[in-house]
């Protein structure tokens, strides 16, 4: 505990909402009843009693959530090196922009002429994302990365349907994020796992063997979930294309390669971006996100409708695309998230976006070097935005990745992603992001090294961690065995 920010402090307890309150209290400002009460007579058997909600005063609600918030840890609290999640700083100004009254009150069903400003944001953001990825056309509708993947898979399906081809397998590397096979399966495809090569990247030979004319193509992540760039990407995409297949790229790790990699040149046909990662929109404890889908020209007619267009100074929605896969969202996706990403891109400009990727990669490599003698490095190659270690060197002390992760909490750090990707047993996946400064990285490294030292010298302490949080280790098995999902 010599370097870290972790220490004890007073935080307050707080019961569940319905353990508070008194019937008749009210935390809501009631509007005047300026019209006569309407007749309820014809409603008898439809009327209910309303739900049993606790009645609270305004201060009750304020204290409840203020206290709950103090049990949480966010990027604003401290370093959050959660691999694959790109927990970078979320600029406050973006929140302000998304909260502008004209934006928050705009209704999604009005005629285009009443919504020019909102359509403009969407149109320009589409253009920006196309330019950033190198792709040709973009739909902003997917509400998260996984829905972006689903969209992409549906485009695959529609493409082959249109061509009259019946294909139903899809190649997915074993390092893929869980959403990849799940999204493919939702579309009725049968995922075929590709074992990644000894160096953690795709083996062209394996792809060649597996790719055939019953396979729609490949769904890969680049940079992949080991934090490595798929160097043979051009060969892979060529092979797939030669067999009439399409290539999907999970672009959730775009933060490593903005201004560095052109995905169209790599041979990608469809990709999604996670705006809540690369483009700095906050994660909100689980969402909302946004997972725009970018495609090459030949697939643009398959994108979801409506599409946002611009002509003669007028923005408009276009519905008439018979090849379109249809709609994925009731309206235009998580528009408020799009506004934040748009605001971020405008604040950064081309140079800073590229710089952000460079620094993200620099930070990851710096951390990778720093730990190489205390943690087992899963693949000893230069990494991109994240680096993956394992607990192999700690096995002899009967200390696991989980123990080290929990002990980091005591020191005031959010742990890295653990036990993912599955191909690295006991994985510890660290993604510092570019917004961490060097001093903070050094402190993190020093603390983690302390933990590693403790693994040897006082391993019990790690197995008991965390001890400084409001609650100690939680019993997840019990939660799953006898689920208690409502109170």
């Amino acid at each position: 505990m010599t370097h870290g920010p972790g220490m004890n402090g007073l935080i307050l307890d707080e019961p569940l909402l319905w353990e508070k309150g008194k019937k008749g209290r009210c935390g809501f400002s009631m509007v005047e009843q300026d019209v006569p009460e309407a007749n309820l007579d014809n409603l008898e058997n439809l009327l209910g009693d309303g739900p049993d909600f606790p009645d609270l005063s305004e201060i009750d609600v304020v204290r409840h959530y203020t206290r709950l918030s103090t049990w949480n840890f966010g990027v604003d609290t401290g370093m959050y090196p959660l691999g694959s999640c790109t927990m970078k700083y979320n600029p406050k100004i973006n929140e302000k922009m998304a909260a502008m009254p004209g934006i928050t009150t705009s209704h999604p069903l009005l005629e285009d002429k009443l919504s020019q400003g909102t359509l403009q944001i969407m149109f320009e953001l589409q253009k920006f994302l196309a330019h950033i990825t190198g792709m040709d056309a973009v739909s902003l509708q997917p509400a998260a990365g996984a829905q972006g993947e689903l969209t992409g898979m549906q485009i695959f399906a529609a493409w082959f349907r249109k061509k009259g081809e019946k294909r139903n397998k899809i190649l997915i590397p074993d390092t893929a994020h869980g959403t990849n096979p799940a999204s493919a399966a939702l579309c009725g495809f049968k995922p075929v796992a590709i074992k990644s090569g000894a160096d953690g990247t795709l083996d062209v030979k394996v792809v060649t063997e597996l790719m055939d004319e019953e396979t729609v193509g490949i769904m890969l992540t680049n940079p992949n979930t080991l934090g490595l760039f798929e160097e043979s990407i051009r060969d892979v995409t060529t092979i797939v294309h030669e067999k009439g297949g399409l290539v999907y790229c999970d672009g959730a790790n775009m933060n490593a390669v903005m201004g560095v990699v052109d995905f169209k040149r790599c041979g990608i046909d469809v990709m999604h971006l996670n705006l809540h990662k690369t483009f700095s929109t906050p994660h909100g404890g689980g969402g909302p996100g946004a997972g725009p889908v970018c495609v090459v020209d030949q697939l643009k007619n398959f994108l979801p409708v409506p599409r946002v267009k611009h002509e003669k100074g007028r923005y408009y929605l276009e519905y008439d695309h018979p090849d379109s896969i249809g709609r994925l969202h009731a309206f235009f996706g998580n528009f408020g998230v799009l506004v934040r990403a748009y605001s971020y891109i405008l604040s950064m400009g081309a140079g800073n976006l590229k710089k952000a990727s460079q620094l993200a990669v620099l930070n990851a490599n710096y951390v990778r070097e720093a730990f190489r003698d205390v943690l087992h490095l899963a693949y000893d190659k230069p990494c991109m935005h994240e680096c993956v270690f394992s607990d192999k060197m700690q096995h002899k002390y009967k200390v696991t990745t989980l123990d080290m992760a929990k002990r980091l909490i005591d020191h005031g750090y959010h742990p890295p992603t653990i036990y993912f990707p599955l191909v690295v047993p006991g994985a510890i996946m660290i993604e510092p992001t570019e917004t961490e400064n060097r001093d903070d990285l050094d402190q993190f490294v020093a603390v983690f090294k302390d933990v590693v030292r403790e693994a040897k010298e006082n391993s019990e302490r790690l197995r008991e961690a965390p001890t400084r949080t409001k609650l100690r280790r939680l019993d997840e098995t019990r939660a799953a065995r006898k689920p208690c999902l409502i109170g």
Binding site: V260, V261, L353, R438
Partner: protein
């Protein structure tokens, strides 16, 4: 750049530590053929203040930004949002956290979602709720998929044509690949779903209704439930306006098996349609089939009550292609917002505001009918209703727009048979003065 903390010296030192000379060298293994050519073509960076000016210009380009009232619903509703909800939900401990994978550092989010699940289940009269879906539309699609999973051998679902047309489009997109059969149920002359032909449909796994439906009409859910269960299908009840359940019986009380819909009304601004909140409930017997994240109660090693993400064996990160859904990031902060909103209202407040919606909508509806408009359907409605006018309503609507009031949308966009019928929405946010302005414009 203020978001990038590295000084030039630090970059130099760090590069030395990683054995590189220049930042570019970090990417030397990336094949030339993959490289980005030139600079990204986007505008040069704006300062915080120039950005602000840019957004003010955009806001001026949103023609409704200065509207007095927008009497349109159709799945996106204008409700009052207490400032406390907005202020509390912007606390960075909530807003800048990730999905609560490390429960010891995320008890705030976790207890908050557990409370959301509980209030949601109470609102909808159900036993189990999840931590959110993307929106009402995808929630409905996932509900239908869930009914197909539960009734494994069946391949058909039936969907009321009175369900929000966009929701039905999303259902089609989601179900297309599975080569499932989607039957649309007609709307009867009373504006309610016609269930008389259910028996004719084979292999029916689930039947979905919306109440209040897209025409604002309250479906007779109880009767519908009996009919649906009699063909051994799951009864899926969906909604776009949860405020209705402050006044009307909940779908759960009427026998629904799965209830889902849009929660935007509970504290989320309209924001051109998102982010909202897909609410999702089911009977507890189906809980292991539910899509999406769920939070459950447990204890820590000292026996203290706490909360964790649970039932993860349903999920993509464990089950991969066999998961109940591909959902990962969902609408986290929106679910917390909805809970804070429901807590601010309380049971008493929810009922009161629901009543106000009903009273105000009735006031406008009755007055316009007195002016000669005809309701498309005569069944009870909540805060939305459809009217036909003797003369074309469009000129009136345009005059109202000039006065800062957007009143109604033409149903013809969604149902060509109802071209010229207008769907109106009135909530507690609309004053009598506005309603009277509409009435007098129609009268004149």
């Amino acid at each position: 750049m203020r978001y990038l903390p590295h000084t030039t010296e630090e970059i130099g030192e760090m590069l030395a530590a990683t054995g590189h000379e220049r930042l570019e060298d970090l990417f030397s293994h990336i094949p030339q053929a993959c490289r980005y050519q030139g600079e990204i073509d986007i505008p040069k960076p704006l300062s915080e203040w120039a950005l602000n000016d840019h957004f003010i210009a955009i806001e001026k380009n949103i023609q409704t930004a200065s509207a007095k009232a927008i009497l349109v619903g159709g799945g996106s509703y204008s409700h009052h949002i207490p400032q406390i909800v907005t202020s509390l939900m912007s606390r960075s401990e909530f807003l800048t956290a990730y999905t609560p994978y490390q429960p010891e550092m995320a008890q705030g989010t976790l207890q908050g979602i557990f409370e959301y699940q509980t209030l949601t289940a109470r609102l909808l009269g159900m036993e189990v709720a999840n931590a959110s879906m993307y929106d009402g539309a995808s929630a409905l699609a996932e509900a239908l998929l869930m009914s197909l999973r539960i009734q494994k051998k069946k391949t058909s679902v039936a969907v009321s044509s009175a369900i929000h047309p966009h929701y039905r489009e999303v259902v089609r997109s989601y179900l297309l690949a599975g080569s499932f059969n989607i039957v649309e149920l007609e709307t009867g002359p009373d504006g309610r779903t016609d269930l008389s032909k259910l028996q004719d449909i084979e292999d029916l796994a689930g039947v979905a209704l919306q109440s209040p439906n897209f025409f604002g009409v309250i479906e007779d859910l109880e009767t519908a439930g009996t009919a649906i269960h009699s063909v051994d299908a799951l009864f899926i009840s969906c909604f776009t306006e949860p405020f209705a359940y402050g006044l009307f019986r909940s779908p759960g009380q009427c026998g629904a098996d799965i209830v889902c819909g849009e929660g935007q009304s509970f504290g989320m601004s309209q924001s051109f349609g998102g982010p909202g909140l897909g609410m999702f409930c089911c009977r507890s017997k189906y809980q292991r089939n539910i899509p999406g994240r769920v939070v459950g109660e447990t204890v820590d090693i000292e026996g203290k009550r706490g909360y964790v993400l649970t039932l993860s064996t349903r999920e993509q990160h464990i089950r991969r292609e066999k998961a109940t859904s591909n959902i990962c990031s969902n609408q986290g902060i929106c679910s917390l917002t909805a809970a804070a909103y429901m807590a601010s209202l309380g049971g008493t407040g929810l009922r009161r505001v629901a009543r106000l919606n009903y009273d105000k909508a009735s006031y406008l509806k009755n007055a316009l009918v007195e002016c000669g408009a005809r309701p498309l359907f005569n069944s009870p409605t909540f805060n939305e209703f459809v009217l036909n006018f003797a003369d074309d309503f469009e000129p009136v609507r345009n005059r109202l727009i000039d006065k800062g009031i957007v009143a109604g949308i033409n149903l013809g966009r969604f149902y060509h048979e109802y071209e010229g019928a207008y769907l109106f929405c009135v909530t507690e946010t609309t004053s009598k003065a506005i309603l009277d302005a509409v009435i007098s414009e129609v009268r004149s």
